[in-house]
Structure formats: structure tokens, C-alpha cells
């Protein structure tokens, strides 16, 4: 586990280009559609998450019980994936297991590690070969949905994701993948 919890002090309220900015006034009749959310000093930014999967990422990272700043924006326009979400999580780095799990719900997500307000490292998620426990099998008659056992999947295709259940051998498409 590489999760870090830091009680860093937030920068003072004085204006900072990295802090919250009110939407700019329309200029030349064109609305500035860029939306900015609070920058973080240290932590992780997860970008290019499909809007429909933002709260899956919240659940994967168990952000409900995260004590530091979490900023979430969703339904933002994205040329790459249509509607996207972005999550900024202060004082936290992700484990490989968490990144693997995010990759299944958001195969095009990028993970930015932030140190002192700067992007220290940027990487794309990569869908792993195997996944255990976090997702449920979409087959209602699969033993994993009716007995107390962990699920296990082999990823047989990555774009779009297709997962083979180790137990019932049913193949789930990306649209069927749900958290347990």
C-alpha cells in the first residue's frame, strides 16, 4: 500500500493561478467553457474517466472515507471520450491494484502524480491480464453472485475491455462490468 495521508496546509487564500478561478466573463461573445477545479499540492489527478464511471472510481479508491481534499468534476466535454470526469485527490498516491481496477472502468484514464503543485509523473493506465475481487460477474447464475467467494477474471481483450469469468466462463463486455 503506497497510500499517503498528509495534512498539508492549503495555500493561503490569496490569488494563485493554481487555485479556484471563477468562470471568466464572456469575451468577444464567446463563453469560456473551461472549468477549473481546485488544484492540489500533493496527490493524484485522474483524468479522462468516462463521465458514467466517475463514481466507480470514487468507490474503487474508497474516497468516501478520504480525509483530505477531493475534487470531482464530471460531464466535461472531451474530444477523446465524449463526456469525461476528472478527480483530484490530495494526499494520496494510488496502489498498482487500484490503478489496475480503474483501467477496467476507464481504459483511457491518465494518472498524474502531483508534487508541490507540479505534475511529477504522468502515465496512462494499462489494463492488466488478471483481476480479482473488485468486480461482479454479470451472469446472475454465476456461483460468485450467490456464494461468499471472491470473483476472478482474465482480461481477454483490452480495447474495448472483455473479461472472462474464471468460474462461470462467461465473457463480459465493457458495458457489463460493474463493481461488487
Amino acid at each position: 500500500m503506497t497510500t499517503k495521508q498528509k495534512n498539508h496546509k492549503k495555500p493561503a487564500k490569496k490569488a494563485s493561478p493554481r487555485n479556484w478561478q471563477a468562470p471568466t466573463k464572456p469575451s468577444s461573445g464567446v463563453q469560456n467553457k473551461e472549468i477549473r477545479i481546485t488544484a492540489i499540492k500533493d496527490g493524484t489527478v485522474i483524468d479522462h474517466v468516462p463521465a458514467a464511471k466517475v463514481f466507480d472510481v470514487v468507490e474503487i479508491l474508497n474516497l468516501k472515507s478520504h480525509k483530505d481534499v477531493v475534487s470531482i468534476a464530471t460531464n466535461l466535454d472531451s474530444k477523446k471520450i465524449g463526456k469525461k470526469g476528472i478527480l483530484k485527490v490530495a494526499g494520496r498516491e494510488l496502489t498498482k491494484k487500484e490503478v489496475d481496477e480503474i483501467s477496467v472502468v476507464a481504459p483511457q484514464a491518465t494518472i498524474n502524480i502531483i508534487k508541490d503543485f507540479k505534475v511529477k509523473e504522468k502515465s496512462k493506465v494499462e489494463v492488466p491480464q488478471q483481476l480479482t475481487a473488485v468486480f461482479r460477474c454479470s451472469n446472475p447464475k454465476c456461483i460468485t453472485n450467490l456464494q461468499p467467494i471472491a470473483t476472478s477474471f482474465s482480461i481477454i481483450a483490452k480495447n474495448p475491455v472483455k473479461a472472462l469469468c474464471f468460474y462461470c466462463e462467461r465473457v463480459m463486455g465493457a458495458e457489463e462490468i460493474q463493481l461488487r
Binding site: K141, C142, I143, P148, C168, E169, R170, V171
Partner: protein
């Protein structure tokens, strides 16, 4: 056949076996049929855990074990077990493994056999898990085709009936993909072969066609594999009524077929094969059922290390 090891192995899914391993099982089955071995399993106990009804599979496993001098314990209905009291399958299996040398399980839930194999340290044989797998039935089907036609390589087979829920169809199609078989999938659209199986066959470069007209495929076929429309797989009884009599195979079907065509059926049949076909040599389904004994003898003796 160097490198093939069956001792201690679970028989859960046909996907777990290479073409070479399947041929090896068939060769042992042939040996069992030609030279019965009445004392091979003396002192061994097979536990048969049938949570779902079965006639052929349960009785042929029992007969196979007894004909080799072994003994059996078990149950034929899930209702009589402690699962009714809320015991998990894992715990039931852990207990039964202490009483036996090999477990044969049938369960309505898909993946139940795989879970049992994880729980048990003795070999577990899947005798059907929901609509998923029934690997020994597939071995019987392969054995029958090989015995009746003389080969598996390059045959043309038509699967007829419920291809959506029919686990025997799914398993046999995957198994025959090792032997460059050509396949026709003949069914109403609502009961067609699931996409993920077709994708898998495509990846294995199997040549297949889909149609709802049996007559279109018939002239090409060496084997016609007929399946029952399974009432127990339909949530809605009206849906079942719509499809239950959609195909009926009778002697007239032989007119448009190769003289050597064999008709197989994993049985039980309900109305999809006219009993009038039984008297024709092409009707191989009862011979297929009889092959259950040597094939299951082969599987039991292989996983218990009694033959090599």
C-alpha cells in the same frame, strides 16, 4: 503421449484440455471398452453430489465406478443436503472430500464445479454446471464421432436446436475446434449460439455458418447434433411454448443427407427426434449414451492414477 498427466487433475471445463489430451482420454476409453477391468477401482470411493436432476450422467458415473470394482456415496437432490440449512458449497465439498477419493458434481449454478475444485484436494469432475460446461458429455460425443465415423479431423457437424443455453453444444464446438471441424449452427434467432462463443471460434479460425433452415445445411453434414429445447432454462413459460416444437427430426431428414450421416443427441429427448428414426443405423444417440460407461471409466481411472 509424453507429458500428459491426468493423476490428481480436475475435469471442469473442456477449455482446460488440448486436442492431444482429449485424444488420449478417448484412447483409454477404447481400451476400457475392449478390455474391461473389474478390479481397477477396488477400495476407491466416488462421491456423487447431484444438486440437479440427472439420469444418464449420474447412473453412468455410478455404473462406471462399480464396473471397475469401486464404490459410490452421494445424493441425487440438493434438497436433502445441509445446503438447505445454509451451508456453503465450499463447506459441503470440504466435508465430502474426507469421505471419498473423487467427487462428481452437478449443480445449477455456473462455476460451482470450479469452486468445488478449489475447495477440494481430491479430483473433482464437473457433471454439468448450469448452462456452462459438461466436459465428460463432450468426451462421450467425441468418442462416439470417432468410433462411428473413424475420425475427428475435418468433419462437418451441424448443431440443431437450443444453441443459446445448450452447454453440450458450447463444449463440443470448442472441443472440435482442435480438430479443424466445420460447423453449421442451426437454430431460431432467439436461440442462436452466444456471440462470445462465435468470437472464440473465429479466433480459433473455425469455419462456421449460421442458419435457421436445417435443410440448407443437411447435405454437407457428417454429424447432426440435435439438442432439446430446455424448459428449465426459460424464465418465461410462454417463450418456451413458442420454441419447444420448432424442429422435429424424423426419417425424412435422411433424404437430403449423406448416407453416412449420424444423428447424435445428448438425451433426454422430448419431441425433437421422432422415435421412427430410431430404427435407422444413422440414429446413433443410444449408442452415444452407452459410450458414457467406457468414457467415464477412462476419466475416473485417469484422475485417480489407476491408468497411465
Amino acid at each position: 503421449m509424453g507429458g500428459i498427466v491426468f493423476k490428481g487433475r480436475d475435469i471442469i471445463s473442456i477449455r482446460d484440455f488440448s486436442g492431444e489430451e482429449l485424444l488420449y482420454v478417448l484412447s483409454i476409453a477404447r481400451r476400457m471398452e475392449q478390455r474391461p477391468q473389474p478390479a481397477l477401482m477396488k477400495g476407491r470411493i466416488m462421491a456423487s453430489m447431484f444438486f440437479e436432476p440427472s439420469t444418464r450422467t449420474r447412473l453412468s458415473f455410478t455404473a462406471a465406478m462399480k464396473r471397475m470394482g469401486g464404490d459410490t456415496i452421494g445424493f441425487a437432490k440438493g434438497e436433502v443436503t445441509s445446503t438447505k440449512k445454509g451451508e456453503t458449497l465450499w463447506d459441503t465439498v470440504k466435508m465430502i472430500e474426507a469421505y471419498s477419493d473423487v467427487i462428481v458434481i452437478r449443480h445449477s449454478l455456473e462455476g460451482a464445479a470450479r469452486l468445488s475444485a478449489e475447495a477440494a484436494s481430491i479430483p473433482v469432475i464437473n457433471a454439468g454446471d448450469g448452462t456452462n460446461q459438461h466436459p465428460t458429455q463432450t468426451m462421450i460425443d467425441l468418442y462416439t464421432i470417432q468410433k462411428e465415423i473413424g475420425k475427428l479431423d475435418g468433419i462437418t457437424i451441424g448443431f440443431l436446436g437450443d444453441l443459446k443455453y445448450g452447454r453440450t453444444v458450447h463444449s463440443l464446438a470448442i472441443a472440435l475446434s482442435h480438430f479443424k471441424a466445420k460447423m453449421y449452427f442451426i437454430s431460431p434467432t432467439a436461440l442462436k449460439m452466444p456471440e462470445y462463443y462465435l468470437d472464440e471460434l473465429e479466433q480459433k479460425r473455425v469455419t462456421f455458418h449460421e442458419t435457421d433452415d436445417v435443410l440448407k445445411a443437411l447435405k454437407h453434414l457428417d454429424v447432426l447434433y440435435v439438442t432439446r429445447i430446455q424448459q428449465e432454462r426459460f424464465a418465461d413459460p410462454l417463450e418456451y411454448e413458442k420454441f419447444k416444437n420448432v424442429y422435429k427430426v424424423g426419417p425424412d431428414i435422411l433424404n437430403g443427407a449423406k448416407k453416412s450421416l449420424i444423428v447424435l443427441h445428448p438425451l433426454p429427448r422430448v419431441g425433437e427426434i421422432d422415435p421412427a428414426l430410431d430404427e435407422f443405423p444413422n440414429a446413433a444417440y443410444f449408442r452415444q449414451a452407452a459410450n458414457g460407461i467406457p468414457v467415464r471409466q477412462a476419466v475416473l481411472s485417469l484422475v485417480l492414477g489407476a491408468v497411465k
